[in-house]
């Protein structure tokens, strides 16, 4: 074997090791879009709660009005569904383009790893909403989502771990500063997603696209 052959052999082995254990069909653009949905959702939610005409220190509504609560939860669920839908769609597209399968050992591992923190967090949030304790909903969203990302990082690009740690930090800060839930929520689910999405797109997707 000559130099080039040996080198390409070594590269292909390393690539296979990565491909067999990591979900690399994740697309940075899904992060950017999920961030945008979150920002639009946060703006809509803010309008629901605070109203249009309110100046500083004046609210048209409060979260504990049942009708407002239902609409805010509806917006949040819509953002979640759109984000997951976009993520799956873009990943399937990327996998097809690269001739990989979407449903493999790595994607199963990824879902299993994320499942426990996400379901736990989701149930905790439902309990909080039912019990009328709204103060810790935004922090819980951020902390449990962050934990899910840290767990998921083992099965995909390592950058996801950093994103997870930042979400956890934001969640804890949000718990420390009650009343600014929507600000931290927008920073975490909106701004961080957009930033990380752009970085990951430039790093992994641009050459593949």
């Amino acid at each position: 074997m000559n130099h080039e052959q040996l080198q390409s052999e070594l590269i292909s082995i390393r690539h296979l090791m990565e491909r067999s254990s990591k979900f690399i069909s994740l697309n940075g653009l899904s992060g950017v879009l999920a961030g945008c949905y979150a920002l639009v959702g946060a703006a809509l939610g803010y309008r629901e709660v605070y109203g249009f005409s309110s100046g500083v220190g004046y609210r048209d509504h409060y979260v504990n009005e049942a009708e407002v609560l239902v609409r805010v939860v509806g917006i949040a669920l819509a953002v979640l569904a759109l984000s997951i839908g976009t993520g799956v769609w873009l990943s399937v597209r990327k996998a097809r383009r690269q001739g990989h399968r979407i449903w493999n050992v790595a994607s199963r591992g990824l879902l299993k790893a994320m499942g426990i923190p996400l379901v736990t967090g989701g149930l905790l949030i439902v309990v909080q909403l039912v019990k009328g304790q709204y103060g810790f909903v935004a922090p819980a969203c951020l902390v449990f989502y962050g934990l899910a990302l840290v767990a998921a990082a083992q099965y995909t690009y390592r950058d996801v771990r950093g994103l997870g740690l930042l979400q956890i930090a934001l969640g804890l800060l949000a718990a420390w500063l009650p009343g600014y839930g929507i600000v931290f929520w927008s920073l975490g689910f909106g701004v961080l997603h957009v930033l990380y999405g752009i970085v990951m797109y430039l790093k992994y997707d641009r050459r593949a696209a």
Binding site: M1, H3, L6, I13, L16, M17, S20, S21, R101, N104
Partner: protein, 97 residues
């Protein structure tokens, strides 16, 4: 120089199987088949050879009534694979024009 290479890894599919098992705790037969795009018989014969060499071990489990066969690299196998990669890297280094 090639005599330093492990005989068990002379075959490309065997080397690929070893690479996958080195990167994962375990991997099942069907997942290996899908990833490597080989036939059942072909893959089975290479797995047998690696098992004979003591590089991998078979884990049989039941999922419902079906058997699910997965494989795991032994310590010996992991060492041999790491050594093979090292040799490969050295060769590349030495051949540098």
């Amino acid at each position: 120089m090639l005599e330093h290479f492990d005989k068990a890894f002379e075959n490309r599919i065997r080397l690929q199987v070893m690479a996958i098992l080195a990167a994962n705790e375990r991997y099942d037969f069907n997942a290996l088949k899908e990833l490597l795009e080989v036939t059942d018989g072909n893959l089975a014969s290479h797995l047998k050879a690696l098992e004979k060499a003591g590089y991998i071990e078979v884990i049989k489990a039941f999922v419902g009534r079906k058997t699910n066969t997965s494989y795991r690299a032994t310590d010996q196998g992991k060492k041999a694979f790491a050594k093979h990669l090292e040799t490969l890297a050295e060769l590349i280094q030495n051949q540098k024009p």
